[in-house]
C-alpha cells in the first residue's frame, strides 16, 4: 500500500510542479505575481475537454493524447493577448497594482469561460480510461497518472535545458537577475517578457489539459490549484526551478500522507509548513 501512497504523492507533486512552474517563470522573469494563473489553468482544461469530446471516437486514441497539447497552445495564445493588452503596463507599477489587475483578469477569464462554455460540466475522460490500469506490487493503479508524471518529468527537463543551455533561456535568466542591467545591455525586454508570460501561461494551460481527463471541467476549476501552487512557490522560493520541484514534492507528499494518517489537519498542516518557511527562510528553500 505504501508504494501507492508514494505514487499518489508523486502524481500530485507532478501536477503542482506544472502549475507552479508557470507561476514561477512569470514571477521570476517579470516580477509579476499572476493571480489569474488558476484561471489560465482552467482555460486549458476547458479547451482540452472541448477538443477531446469533439474528437470522441472519430480518431485513433493517439490523437487524443496529442490533443492535450491544445491546452498549451490555446492558453499560450490567451497569455499572449493578456500580456499585450494588460500585463505590459504593470512592469513599472508596484505590487498592489499588479495584484488588483491580475485579480481582475482572474474574474474576467472566469466570465469568458462562462460565456464560451456555459455553466455545465465537461467530461473528457477518454484519455484516462483508454490507458487502463497497471498492477504495481499487487495494487491497481491508473496508467494515466504515470503518464502525467512522465510528462511532468520531460517538461521539467526541457525547461531546465531551455533555461540553462539556450541563449534565449540565458537572456530570460539575465532579466530575472537584474532587469535594469539587462536593459542596459540591450536585451529586447519587451519581446522577452512576452515570451516568458506566454510560456508561463501555456504551462498552466497544459497542466489543466492534463488534469481534465481525470475530473470534469467546471467553473471555479482553478481556485484550489492556485492556492496550492502559491504554497509551492513560497516553500520552494521565487523564480527557482529547483525550488518548484522540491516545493511540489514536499506539498504532494505531505498531502498524500497527511490524508492517510491525520486527515483532519492535512490542509492546515500545509499552510503551517509554508508559514514556518516564511518566518525562518522568507526567500524560500531555494530562493535568492
Amino acid at each position: 500500500m505504501w508504494i501507492i501512497y508514494i505514487l499518489n504523492g508523486l502524481y500530485f507533486a507532478a501536477l503542482l510542479f506544472f502549475i507552479s512552474l508557470g507561476l514561477n517563470i512569470i514571477l521570476g522573469v517579470m516580477g509579476i505575481l499572476n493571480l489569474a494563473h488558476g484561471s489560465l489553468y482552467a482555460f486549458g482544461a476547458f479547451i482540452a475537454a472541448w477538443i477531446i469530446i469533439a474528437l470522441g471516437t472519430h480518431v485513433p486514441p493517439f490523437f487524443l493524447y496529442i490533443s492535450l497539447l491544445s491546452g498549451l497552445v490555446g492558453v499560450g495564445i490567451v497569455g499572449f493577448l493578456m500580456e499585450k493588452s494588460l500585463i505590459r503596463f504593470m512592469y513599472k507599477r508596484t505590487l498592489e497594482y499588479q495584484l488588483l489587475l491580475t485579480f481582475g483578469a482572474l474574474m474576467l477569464l472566469e466570465d469568458v469561460i462562462k460565456m464560451i462554455w456555459g455553466g455545465q460540466a465537461y467530461y473528457a475522460s477518454a484519455p484516462f480510461v483508454l490507458l487502463g490500469k497497471v498492477n504495481i506490487g499487487g495494487n491497481v493503479y491508473p496508467a494515466y497518472f504515470l503518464f502525467v508524471m512522465f510528462i511532468a518529468f520531460i517538461a521539467g527537463l526541457l525547461i531546465w535545458l531551455f533555461m540553462s543551455k539556450t541563449k534565449l533561456g540565458i537572456m530570460l535568466r539575465a532579466i530575472s537577475l537584474d532587469r535594469e542591467m539587462a536593459t542596459a545591455l540591450g536585451l529586447n525586454i519587451t519581446g522577452l517578457s512576452t515570451l516568458a508570460f506566454v510560456l508561463g501561461a501555456g504551462l498552466a494551460g497544459l497542466a489543466g489539459a492534463l488534469v481534465v481527463p481525470t475530473t470534469p471541467a467546471l467553473l471555479g476549476f482553478g481556485h484550489e490549484p492556485l492556492i496550492l501552487a502559491f504554497i509551492v512557490v513560497v516553500v520552494g522560493g521565487l523564480g527557482s526551478l529547483k525550488g518548484a520541484l522540491v516545493g511540489s514534492l514536499l506539498v504532494g507528499f505531505t498531502r498524500s500522507i497527511g490524508i492517510a494518517v491525520f486527515p483532519e489537519i492535512e490542509l492546515p498542516l500545509l499552510f503551517l509548513i509554508a508559514g514556518i518557511i516564511l518566518v525562518a527562510k522568507p526567500e524560500g528553500l531555494f530562493g535568492r
Binding site: 500500500m1 460540466a121 467530461y123 491497481v140 497518472f145 481525470t214 475530473t215 467553473l219
Partner: protein, 440 residues
C-alpha cells in the same frame, strides 16, 4: 363660549368621521378578502437554481428544466384558476449575499407571487427568513440541511417561518434510510468509513449517518473520516487512505463533479473490488457515468425519486409515467432527484392556491396560501407528498444497489427498499439528532 362649543362639536364630528372612515376601511378590506376577483394577469413565479458553477450540471439545470416543463404543462392545462404561469428563471450563483439581494428584489421590485428555489443549504438558511420579513411566499425546493426548519432544541415551536416552506424532506431521510438499509442487508459488517465534503452539507450528512449507525449497529467501528474540500480534483490520496483502513462500507454525500471524479479515480485504483460505497445522494450518477459506474454500490434517492419507481396510488403512478416520458423526450435523459424536487415545489404552490381559493372564494393572499400549504397532501411522480405543519416535506425514502442490465446503458437500482416516511423523518418539533438518539 360659542367658539368653544363649535370647537368641541368640530372635534366630535372629526372623531365620528375618523371612526366611520376606519370602519368603512375595515369593512372594505374584509369585503375584498372574502370575495376577491381572480386577476387576469399571469402569475409571476421566480425559479432560482444554480445555472452556472459546479452545482449547475447535476442539480440546477435539471431543476430549471423541470420548472419549465411543469409550467408549460400547467399552462397547457389552463393555468392555476385560469391564470397562466410566467416563469422567471434566475441564477443561484454568487453566494449568500447576492441571493438575499436577489430575493428582496424579486419580492419587492419585481412583485413575484412566489419564489421557488435554492439548492444550496446556505442560501436556504439566509433567504427563508425573508419570507416573513417581506410578506412573500418562498418555497425551498432542493436544499438539504436539517437545520432549516428545526429550532434550537427539542421540542421546538412550529412553523419556524410563517411564509417559508420546503417542499421536500431534509437530508435526515437519506442518511437514516442508508443506515436502515445497511442494517438489513449487511448486518455483519464491522468497519465503516466516511468521505464527505468539508462544509456544512458533508459534515451534517455524516453526523446523521454516524449517529444512526451507532444506534442501529453499536458494534460498528468508524475507521476513517475524510473531508476533501469542495471541488477537489485529485482523490487519489483519499482513495488510498480509505483502502488502507479497510472499511466494509464507506458513506459519502459527495455530489456533482466531486462524485464523478471520485468514482472514476476509485475505479482506476481498484477500489470497488474491495470496498462498497453508500451514497446518500447517489441517484444521478449512474446515468451520468454510464457503464463505467460500478455495480454493487448502495445508492439513496433522496426520497422515492427514481425513474423506475412506481408509486402505489394511481394518480401518482400516472404522473410518474408522464413525467419520465416527457422529461426524456425533452431533455434526452431520465429525470433525476432535483427534477422531482422541482415538480414538488411548483405543484405544491398550484394545489395550495387552488385549495385556498376554494376556502376564500377568490385569489388567495400569501397568508391564505400558507395556511392551505400546511398539511396539504397531493400526488407527485414519486408518490403522495405531505407538507407538514413544520412547513417541511414528509417523504418516504428509496435505497437500492446498482446493477447492470441489458436494458439501460448504465446500472439501475436492484433490491429496492422503500422506507416509509414515519420511519425516516423525525416527528414534528423534535430535532433529528435528538430523535435518533431516542431510538430504543
Amino acid at each position: 363660549m360659542s367658539k368653544e362649543i363649535t370647537r368641541r362639536k368640530l372635534l366630535k364630528y372629526m372623531g365620528a368621521t375618523a371612526l366611520s372612515a376606519g370602519a368603512l376601511g375595515i369593512s372594505t378590506k374584509s369585503f375584498s378578502q372574502s370575495k376577491k376577483a381572480i386577476p387576469t394577469t399571469p402569475i409571476k413565479v421566480a425559479a432560482v437554481s444554480f445555472l452556472t458553477g459546479a452545482a449547475a450540471a447535476p442539480f440546477g439545470i435539471p431543476g430549471d428544466n423541470t420548472f419549465k416543463m411543469c409550467a408549460d404543462k400547467i399552462n397547457a392545462d389552463g393555468g392555476i384558476l385560469g391564470r397562466k404561469i410566467e416563469l422567471h428563471s434566475k441564477d443561484e450563483a454568487g453566494g449568500v449575499d447576492a441571493q438575499v439581494k436577489l430575493a428582496r428584489k424579486l419580492l419587492l421590485e419585481d412583485k413575484m407571487d412566489v419564489i421557488l428555489g435554492y439548492i444550496s443549504s446556505a442560501d436556504c438558511l439566509a433567504v427563508l427568513p425573508l419570507a416573513d420579513e417581506l410578506g412573500g411566499l418562498i418555497i425551498a425546493y432542493d436544499c438539504g440541511t436539517h437545520e432549516l426548519m428545526e429550532g434550537a432544541k427539542s421540542p421546538y415551536d412550529v412553523p419556524k417561518f410563517k411564509l417559508g416552506f420546503r417542499s421536500k424532506a431534509h437530508l435526515g431521510i437519506d442518511n437514516v434510510a442508508l443506515a436502515l438499509y445497511i442494517k438489513k442487508y449487511y448486518p455483519n459488517i464491522k468497519k465503516i468509513a466516511g468521505i464527505n465534503q468539508d462544509y456544512a452539507w458533508g459534515r451534517d450528512s455524516w453526523l446523521i449517518f454516524e449517529t444512526a449507525m451507532k444506534k442501529l449497529m453499536p458494534q460498528i467501528e468508524v475507521v476513517k473520516t475524510l473531508w476533501p474540500p469542495l471541488g477537489n480534483t485529485d482523490f487519489t490520496a483519499h482513495i488510498s487512505a480509505l483502502m488502507g483502513s479497510e472499511p466494509d462500507i464507506v458513506h459519502s454525500s459527495l455530489w456533482g463533479g466531486d462524485a464523478v471524479t471520485f468514482s472514476k479515480q476509485a475505479l482506476g485504483m481498484g477500489f470497488f473490488k474491495k470496498i462498497r460505497m453508500a451514497y446518500s445522494r447517489g441517484e444521478p450518477y449512474p446515468q451520468e457515468l454510464g457503464k463505467d459506474y460500478p455495480e454493487g454500490q448502495i445508492v439513496c434517492c433522496a426520497g422515492t425519486h427514481y425513474f423506475l419507481f412506481t408509486p402505489k396510488d394511481k394518480a401518482s403512478a400516472d404522473l410518474q409515467k408522464w413525467f419520465v416520458a416527457e422529461y426524456h423526450k425533452r431533455y434526452g435523459k431520465y429525470p433525476t432527484y432535483p427534477c422531482y424536487h422541482a415538480f414538488q415545489a411548483i405543484y405544491a404552490y398550484k394545489h395550495a392556491v387552488e385549495k385556498a381559493a376554494k376556502a376564500v372564494g377568490g385569489w388567495p393572499t400569501p397568508d391564505e396560501i400558507s395556511k392551505a400549504l400546511s398539511g396539504l397532501t397531493f400526488p407527485t411522480p414519486s408518490g403522495l407528498l405531505t407538507i407538514r405543519e413544520d412547513h417541511n416535506g414528509y417523504e418516504d425514502c428509496l435505497v437500492g444497489i446498482t446493477k447492470m442490465t441489458a436494458k439501460y446503458p448504465f446500472p439501475i437500482l436492484d433490491k429496492m427498499e422503500i422506507f416509509p416516511a414515519a420511519q425516516v423523518n423525525p416527528p414534528v418539533g423534535t430535532k433529528t439528532v435528538d430523535w435518533i438518539n431516542s431510538w430504543k
